[in-house]
Amino acid sequence: MSTIPSGARILASGDDAQLAARLVRRDADALSVLYDRYAGVVYSVLLRIVRDTAVAEDLAQETFLRVWNGIHQYDSERGSLAAFVLTVARNRGIDYLRSREHRLAGKSVAIPADDHPVLAVEGASALEQQQLVRRVRGALEALSPSHRTVIELAYFGGLSHSEMSEQLGQPLGTVKTWVRNALRVLREHLAEGGARRP
């Protein structure tokens, strides 16, 4: 029996469990399916985070290898395979931003507050992904500017709680409340809008 709260399977696909089981069996064709399904969004989110195409490609490769090697940690009762993959990808991107390698490259992690996260889809995308992008975009647009900003700074910029507080000139408690409320509203919008992958 699942104890997952409402909205926890926003990105679930019907065959998540079967695909994961094939990956556990070391089925390279299953990795091919996984790659075709998520390579675009994995690369896109990494590029958005690190802003360097070569680094994003390297981290995307590492993401898929980590998923391949760590697939036994995935529990389809707990969440979607997409969330598992994208959490690995985002963590790799943020780890890179905070790494010595990145600091030596002299690249900034700060993102201007007016750099809006909900941008148009660029390049070719599958129809279902475009629909999902629109739903997420709609959910983000429903957030207040301060809520959008903290999600942007934390998710794509990798800023810590205290860094966000400093950059926004707001107390730690206020930033925490903004983050919590932003995610609660996002979750409600995505669950209501049926953002489940077609």
Partner: protein, 238 residues
Amino acid sequence: MNCSDHRENLELYALKALPAAESGVIRGHLEEGCSSCGAELAAIEETLAAVAFAAPQREAPVTLRGRVLGSVRPSRVLPVRRSFPWKPLGWVAAAAAVTVLFIEEARVNRVRTEMQSLRTVVARQEAILDVLSGPETREVVFGEGASGRVLLHPRRGVLLLARNLPVPPAGRVYQMWIVPRSGAPRPAGLLAAEPPGRAAHFHPAELDLSQVAAVALSVEPPGGSAAPTTTPFLIVGL
């Protein structure tokens, strides 16, 4: 601490935005097997993963598929011959094989280097394309004498397209500067040699456009300067 204390920080924990000590406390609580906090964390991670779809969607590079799939396929195991029918020939064959391996390794290294430089070129072209076509780009046209355009993109950088530039004095070069509203001008690269009077110069940078006052060109010694050593002869105000 009870579950409600941990719940207050679960979002920041999922975002990796907490200090290590606080993260460790929550991780310990989750590892103890708190199913309700675990389920709540899963829901938060699912919501955060959806945010990934708000990033501008790009197609993955064509080379990535091969890199990913190629790196997990089991390597081919060649059958091992127990012995050579004629041992001297076996040594010759082994030496030849080692030579081939060295040549192959050198070839792979060369291809890797070429791919890296190609990636750099492509990334630069993509950045310039974004500057030229991006909705966030700010464009300023300038004229009288030297004329042209300056295009600024908040995440990609500055592109200067100019014509009718005077020839720089012998032994001197042109250097571009990003002039902030407050503070010292920032070096933005030396202009590459172009046909007389023309320049197309791109400087990758992240910019807060509201804080950029102007883009300027000055005459500098070869190799450029950390700060302008001459009064800029071209200042394009924003």
